[in-house]
Symmetry: C2
Subunit: 382 residues, 2 copies
């Protein structure tokens, strides 16, 4: 029976028709004046979404490329780096720091929890770090970490702060400058509503100084080169021209809807998802709702989550994610980022109810959807 | 706040990405051998969906064009024509018969009801009709009329049977040959999942004889010319090449899913929609559920239906239809034809619940969705 493929994993996310249409424009020369003008225009829009006055460079590569570019551009062998790990993508920073020879300190929390601010503060009193790496929105656990407090600590101790906002930027309220983030990283395929293939890094003046003094061995993923090229609205290597078109269209959609409204929509979708999950007797993975992400909801329950995911996909057309690494086979993650609306959320909860029931879980049909509907009714969708 | 435009009117309906992709193929010359081969291939697929051995001609024009082509190609001034009218599209046949000078008899039922078979049988005993026109699926009221019984009557009395299946063909089980329909008309923009612009007429040998003897004054909409051209896999005038590509892709989707499964899906969606509407205390327009359509559900209730429709569209993104003519402002019609699945239906019911509530109607949130979910749970979606 026909079911539509409905992509609700925590990225890549759905691409709006307007963005797909933008990608069909003819390719132009990436060294042309036309492309330069376009590059400048897109970069200015990105800065608004990043809420920053810093330059945001655009790399042709996915989120991990931007993470590596940032780490490799500021870390030299022996540099003290603190990685705050609350899940798989926090671990990625630690792996990168190791690859580039850092004197690495890892502060790890239980998956599903946020970091321990007191412990981080204590550690930073005891040791001087060149760089602190943290994840804003931990896609693997659905936890959002407080970045503002880390920004204060880093400013106090003179450390650079590098933040992964791959799965939150464009959907959540991220104040790059106000929070004093030196290097803010994001990617195209999440709340930016684009196919994978582009990533972004905002660079503070403080970070740029370090980058320019640092001898990075990375050739393609060099922020020094990217930043230098961008001063002339160019790129060191061939950029993905089609995705630049797409990015421009997506930024127009985000800024056209209005940042406040975009954030409110993501908050509403997330709250509706959480209320539905709880009404069905399932448990949220995040320790508290205060740290629960607005772009991805992770949950579990007394049911074979892989059987539920398989039913959701094969019978109802909904792709949702399972757990990664130590959470493999133990949780379900629903992405509600970017091009997602009321209808998507209600539909996936309906499908979840039927899939749970078919997997042998006791469900009073309609209960999850009712809880979600109440959130939208009270939340004010205007 | 971003909401997706979700088209759930009873046509035009949603177009699948596969069909949109097919339309991007380069145009080829419509008098080329390549196009002829393609035309033949598409026409063969159409015959399977029409469940007929008769030729199905393809016209570049919407459903009303095919209705006019059929009427004008068999009716000469003074010919006795019986029009069975159960709603707006039944009336269209009567208007066309009048335009072409028929000696017209109209048998009209209350909107929301089907025709009176006994009365039609009696009338046909009393008077010899050259042509009987009937609507299979009355889009304006959500009523499906029994065509098989009309086929038997027409065969008995030697009348031609012309049927409008614009909003049902491709979604409902329509047995053109078994029901002895001489001229079966459909259009591209409903269950065929295409944009508007093409229409189809199947022509029985008996109808062809009449057509060839008839002096139609219609130039563009001539079934005689269309049929004659089609014998060489050609068209009398320039066909919509892109929509032919689209039609081929759509037929592949329908035949690939399997006619039985397509019919079952439409039945399930319709039943889920009706159960939801009833659970919310609203009333179905069709007199009985036996005559309720599988492609469109019409209903009303103690609420301002136009206010509800406006909320559905502006706040939640769902376009549903209101009433036409005498039903204007009195009913809501939800289309569930063609490229529609479980997720679409659950989402629109959720949005309907919130919109009803906001329009002042008493709603126990989740009740409609629960009723729909039960239908899918019991209906067997495999």
């Amino acid at each position: 029976m026909l079911v539509k493929n409905r992509l609700l994993i925590p990225g890549p996310s759905q691409v709006p028709p307007e963005v797909n249409a933008a990608m069909t424009r003819p390719i132009i020369g990436h060294r042309s004046g036309d492309f330069s003008k376009f590059h400048e225009q897109v970069a200015q829009k990105l800065k608004k979404i990043f809420q920053t006055e810093n330059e945001v460079v655009i790399l042709t590569g996915s989120g991990s490329a931007a993470m590596e570019a940032a780490v490799s551009s500021v870390v030299s062998p022996g540099d003290a780096v603190l990685c705050i790990v609350t899940g798989k993508f926090g671990e990625r920073f630690a792996e990168l720091a190791k690859v580039y020879g850092a004197d690495l300190t890892v502060m790890e929390s239980e998956w599903g929890d946020t970091y321990d601010l007191g412990a981080v503060a204590k550690l930073m009193e005891e040791k001087a770090f060149k760089l602190v790496c943290a994840t804003h929105n931990e896609t693997s656990t659905g936890v959002t970490n407080d970045i503002k407090s880390l920004g204060e600590l880093c400013t106090k101790h003179g450390a650079l702060l590098l933040v992964d906002a791959v799965s939150s930027m464009g959907g959540m309220d991220i104040r790059t400058d106000e929070w004093k983030v030196d290097l803010m990283v994001s990617g195209s395929q999440k709340a930016f509503m684009l196919p994978p293939g582009l990533s972004f890094v905002s660079i503070s003046p403080r970070a740029l100084e370090v980058i320019n003094q640092n001898n990075s061995t990375n050739y393609y993923l060099s922020l020094k080169k990217a930043k230098k090229s961008q001063e002339k609205w160019s790129t060191p290597y061939t950029p993905n021209v089609s995705l630049f078109y797409a990015l421009d269209a997506a930024c127009d959609m985000i800024l056209g809807e209005g940042l406040e409204t975009v954030f409110k929509r993501h908050n509403l979708l997330a709250k509706a998802c959480r209320e539905a999950v709880k009404a069905l007797g399932l448990k949220l993975l995040p320790k508290t709702e205060e740290i629960a992400s607005s772009t991805v909801t992770a949950f579990f329950g007394d049911v074979d989550t892989e059987a539920v995911r398989s039913l959701l996909k094969k019978k109802y057309g909904f792709s949702v994610a399972g757990g990664q690494d130590r959470l493999k086979g133990k949780i379900i993650r629903i992405g509600h980022m970017g091009y997602m609306d009321f209808g998507d959320l209600i539909a996936v909860i309906g499908a979840l109810e039927l899939s749970l029931q078919e997997a042998g879980y006791q469900v009073e049909l309609g209960r999850g959807v009712a809880a979600a509907l109440k959130v939208f009714a009270e939340g004010g969708m205007n």
